[in-house]
Symmetry: C2
């Protein structure tokens, strides 16, 4: 099967680029002695999780308990559920999984930790702190020490360290590098406070996509959980963390209409790409037509503006589009097609698609 046989829209991954992305991150983590626990929210495919583990990842990360049920099929020995897990059904799922794989959960409240302990779970726990994003995580300082203490005292729970997500650092410009340096100071002070309280934190787990190649410059950080790096996307390029040539995933679309002047319509819209925006206008890059602007979307229509489109772009023509945000785009597709050149080498089912609970 070749790429020409695919029905569109189709999410296509260039295997050469993907494998290079995977190796580069594995080498970076090994070189700097960082534990690598890739977040699988980007691909949601157990076979790709298995590749990450084969390349040296210590484990994998998921956000939800149903994603964990899927990702255990990668054969990973270790799964981090980086989310405050609440709800009886979720705990039942996790309890069943603990018989197959080591599970760690990140929590940011005594309530959630107690909920895990009350259910008789035997899991590792990371205490989540807010490093500046203002999403989840208790304040560093006494609240974090108190949470770590509470977790350490609960039966079944093993306190393993600290988790955070510095999503507020959007790039590695001068301001970003200062923020990373401050983050190192913060981790150093957290470690000192925990030591003083006689609590051992083995793991300091953090990192974000825009700052991924600077993780080793953050003092005290010893685990990273990058996700997007396997495929990369338009927003990763804008953040400075990769080049366009590192974008492994694109969506193959067909031009279905050229009725309107200086515009063509592709057979993918918000149900194919998601409506996530980017730092610059446009819903993606049309690889073949760099001068085109993917200006607007409806659910199943993509509006691409291009001077002279009607004469130069033909109905039935196929174009590849690099999306703004690959993680939400993959979640919209039943299958991902792995290609080498024009050959479709592998078809993966997106088993973790829509696993929201």
């Amino acid at each position: 099967m070749t790429i020409h046989d695919l029905d569109t829209p189709a999410l296509v991954v260039d295997l050469d680029i993907m494998e290079r992305n995977l190796r580069r991150m594995a080498e970076y983590a090994a070189q700097h002695n960082l534990r690598l626990r890739p977040h699988t929210k980007t691909h949601k495919i157990p076979a790709l999780g298995a590749m990450q583990v084969a390349l040296g990842a210590v484990g994998l990360t998921v956000a939800k308990s149903t994603e964990a049920e899927v990702m255990v099929n990668s054969g990973t020995p270790d799964l981090l559920i980086a989310y405050p897990v609440l709800g009886v059904k979720k705990l039942e799922r996790i309890k069943a999984l603990t018989k197959r794989v080591k599970i760690t959960v990140s929590v940011d409240s005594v309530e959630v930790a107690q909920h895990l302990a009350d259910a008789g779970l035997e899991v590792g726990v990371l205490a989540e702190t807010d490093a500046g994003l203002g999403r989840v995580g208790v304040e560093p300082g006494q609240p974090l020490v108190d949470l770590a203490k509470a977790i350490s005292a609960m039966p079944g729970l093993t306190f393993e360290g600290i988790a955070f997500y510095p999503g507020h650092i959007k790039s590695t410009d001068a301001a970003g590098m200062t923020a990373l340096s401050n983050l190192g100071d913060l981790l150093t002070s957290i470690r000192a406070q925990l030591t003083q309280a006689d609590i051992e934190a083995r793991i300091f787990s953090g990192g974000s996509t825009p700052t991924m190649w600077h993780s080793h410059e953050v003092a005290g950080l010893n685990e990273i959980r990058p996700g997007t790096y396997i495929f990369n996307d338009r927003n990763t390029v804008f953040s400075g963390a990769c080049q366009v040539e590192d974008c492994a995933a694109s969506i193959l679309c067909t031009v279905v209409s050229t009725s309107v002047k200086d515009q063509f319509i592709i057979d993918g819209g918000s149900k194919t790409f998601s409506s996530d925006l980017a730092k610059q206008p446009g819903h993606g890059w049309v690889v073949k037509y760099p001068e085109a602007l993917f200006a607007k979307m409806n659910e199943e229509h993509g509006y691409v503006s291009m001077a002279g489109a009607k004469s130069s772009v033909k109905i039935g023509e196929r174009v590849r589009v690099i999306p703004n945000h690959i993680c939400v785009a993959v979640n919209l597709h039943e299958k991902v097609y792995g290609v080498r050149g024009e050959t479709v080498e592998v078809v993966w089912s997106v088993d973790g698609r829509g696993k929201l609970q």
Copy 2:
């Protein structure tokens, strides 16, 4: 099973409201002698398509050939694929479906019509015209007459009329009503041009959600294809086409963190709601807390701003959120739960989810 047994996030539909919405539209169409061919992109559930047909819809509408494969299971006698269909696999699917149901396709180019005819399809065809949105559709006037003529001459294709989507009319304020009146003039002139060319157009199919209750005021319009009305959403309320009380669908979420002052985090973000925006700030209405602003999203986190949230909103509490755009939200969920009061009366699988081809 009650609503309290549902694992979150869960897409919940109030059956009383949904049934009222369905009846209201069926009665409106019957009263004004409008053919009703509801667009099923909103619910993607065959059982709901069957309800629409049982209430008098002449057929159902889909956007994609794979959606048609799903929606034929509703038992509808008639399916409109309101999309320029291009591609060998799509035509194979449609050809198989024509043995089970009457299929009509809307096309806006001779190329696509020829593609259907060359494949030996026997289908009805609507010629799509651009009524002002600038998406698909040939220009009204000679280009439309030429397209209708070409379709009429092709073997296997039965020219049935005109399709358009007036998505540029966003509300029924004074400007909107003038635009609707102009639309009627346009349809009248199209009918005259076709008659003069000795072409009979049986169907004039159009309409949009914001203008749905004014369809009978558009001269010449005899078929409507509303979709969102079955559930409604925040954007439908903003357009003036329904009240908040008419919103049948909401997403049940759990508060998972209150760590940050004046904010709580729910267990749904862009992978649960979609990132579609609305006319006003916010990603949805938190029903229980009208003073709250659903200000921000990540993939699995919803940030809800509310003064005093930390003390008044508890971890583990459940809230229902009416999304901005229900059509894209349903597409993210494996199941939809139909509830009456607190009882879960029916669980539907979203069979059309992710059917992009």
